[in-house]
Symmetry: C2
């Protein structure tokens, strides 16, 4: 009998009524003679409420304690889901991360799954039960509870799907799949029927809803992920790695954006070996991710060096940059926190030239200035003024005719 | 270094402010160079709220699921307590029932502790940490979470104290120890400095706040229990088994009462062997506890048989009694749900005659009719009309001069 792993997000489980509605959806899959493992997030805003409670007793809650605290949210939702399923007449059992055998490292707050011991889950599935697993959590060798960080429940679901060799992993959420652009900005944005792992990774990293970790994991184990709305019957988007079919498509898949961008520029840096290392080592040591890096062609022996960080990290990053910039002989350090990124993504760009120039032309025609450019094999990103980012998304969506199937 | 186990009830942990106040109290004990294990209940009304949530998704939540759901309440409070202690500068760690090694049987909702594996707790204590344990919960061989039923956190605390050979177990609650009578009824009720396990068992079973299970366990392992208020410095009551000192005291220790009493009477039952078994077997099979049983002296071959159950069980009990009473040849079945129990308790009564007659005389002088009488070695209980039970408590408190130390 084929096995489906489903994952339901917190907004789909916000109250008892929604939990019962999701239970009916899970039951429907069971009616199709599938084995079902359902991974659930915490109800609605539970996680935020627990974090708020923690902040009332401590200024800096220890990650180990915070993990155990937060893990209670998913325990509540998984037990309620098992009860709701049983009251519909379906045999079901809830399992915590520990009971489901989700072993992780000890990096509290952002633990990585080491392995999944599937014995208990398989035993319950063989007893014809629907297995409801608390997402977002695992445990260490010491039986300490860990949480998997952002996107954790998606990662739990994909890891279980991989370990159990599931037919596919279905992620149900409050959006109806993956779109060619944010429908709030582009009114005729189109839902994609399918998308490759690589494209989804770029979209996810550059603004879309799913967390890159779960996509990476699915890609490694080749588990198809179906993203769809928790309620209603609208079809969703299948994320998979079926490259042959993809080769027929030479086209941009989607436009994405990110407002959380700030730029730091060191001006008049003497151009000699080692300056990049001197600059970026202290940032990496402080856990600050540096994104786009641009170094201008050297004029005389001086160069300008710009890079972006998230706005959240700007203050801290500037402090650290200033502390090394003088020793580097830089003239000054300037910042800009009114920028955004806009990207086009598509596996079709890989071998087809002309996409970059079409993007730049479309932006130029709309009088949108490009501050920096960065590319990957399947993505072209421009840094533009935040005031023009919505225009840019709309213009690019139109320029690449994404509204047409 | 001596070890103290402390237990804090839910009303002492109702919000972040109270949790911080309890943390300061725990810290004070640590300052006395004691090792400390603190067992906590769920915050305030958490357990009721979780039960309410369960009832919204299922008419009859499975005990296994309900246990896992409810266990989350104590996980929240123990992690918050560890955080609060750390923010006061004390090293602390929270442990779930599973992490604290509290092994139970599989009787969900009313599990019994089989053994406590103290390895982890001892390791944390040796690392100079305050160990905060989630009360009320344990786990089975299968790693399923169980709850210990009513009074569960008291039982967790005493079990840990026994397994760790603690100096004593301190139970902090919203009352200032054990009183000679309910202070809401008897204005000059006196707080007891000490009381034996046996007396406390009778008081607990007959209305006082602590659950008999924890007292029994403490008695078996000879762990002194100190009951006191969570906040303030008023001294509490020591429950212990120090009999030598007790023998000097020939006196009633306290008066207690219970309003949750209903009586069932079978009239005109043919008096032959086996009638009690025929009657009580179906009740016991249905999990209905029968308390006082009185069989009147047989006149001709007929007898009247009365017994009490809790009011909560009355309806169900009567149904079951009627189904067997006809076969027994009983004339009819009558009930009375307007009764209460009033008891005097004291180890001093063991070998000293005259207590019963003083009790009956005091009630008679106040025109309080005694419906039924039952006794143990250290307790005399009278069933009286509920309308007179407060009078009875006051009169007996005065008759035995309990206001005097």
């Amino acid at each position: 009998m084929a096995l489906i792993v489903q994952k339901y997000g917190g907004s789909s489980l916000a109250d008892a009524q929604k939990i019962r509605a999701v239970a009916r959806r899970i039951a429907k899959t069971r009616d199709l003679k599938k084995k079902v493992v359902a991974v659930v997030s915490a109800m609605g805003d539970t996680t935020d409420e627990l974090i708020n409670l923690a902040s009332q007793v401590s200024n800096s809650p220890e990650p180990r304690e915070l993990d155990l605290l937060l893990s209670s949210g998913e325990v509540v939702s998984c037990t309620l889901m098992a009860m709701a399923l049983r009251s519909l007449g379906y045999d079901a059992i809830s399992l915590t991360g520990l009971q489901a055998g989700i072993h992780t490292d000890t990096a509290h707050g952002r633990a990585r799954i080491d392995r999944v011991d599937t014995d208990r889950v398989i035993r319950e599935l063989e007893a014809e039960r629907i297995v409801v697993v608390a997402g977002f959590q695992g445990f260490t060798e010491d039986l300490d509870v860990t949480t998997l960080g952002r996107g954790g429940s998606d990662t739990s679901a994909v890891a279980l799907a991989a370990a159990l060799k599931a037919e596919r992993c279905e992620v149900y959420t409050d959006v109806e799949g993956i779109y060619t652009a944010d429908p709030r900005i582009v009114s005729n944005a189109r839902r994609l029927e399918e998308i490759t792992y690589e494209e989804m990774l770029e979209l996810a990293a550059y603004g879309a809803k799913m967390h890159p970790r779960s996509i990476e994991l699915a890609s490694v184990y080749n588990i198809p992920i179906y993203v769809a709305a928790s309620f209603g019957e609208t079809p969703g988007t299948l994320i998979h790695g079926d490259v042959p079919m993809m080769e027929h498509r030479v086209k941009v898949t989607g436009v994405t954006y990110d407002r959380n961008v700030a730029k730091i520029t060191l001006r008049g840096v003497p151009d000699r070996p080692g300056i990049a290392a001197t600059l970026f080592e202290p940032l990496s040591a402080a856990g600050i991710s540096v994104d786009t890096i641009v170094q201008n062609t050297s004029l005389d022996q001086f160069t300008d060096l710009s890079f972006t960080v998230t706005r959240t990290d700007l203050r801290d990053a500037v402090k650290r940059v200033r502390s090394v910039s003088e020793g580097m002989g830089a003239r000054d350090v300037v910042t800009d926190d009114s920028l955004s990124k806009v990207s086009i993504v598509g596996a079709g760009m890989l071998d087809a030239p002309g996409y970059a120039s079409r993007m730049f032309r479309a932006l130029a025609d709309a009088d949108i200035n490009i501050d920096m450019i960065t590319t990957s094999e399947i993505r072209i990103t421009c840094i533009v003024a935040e005031s023009r980012v919505e225009d840019a998304v709309q213009i690019l969506h139109k320029a690449f005719q994404l509204e047409e199937p």
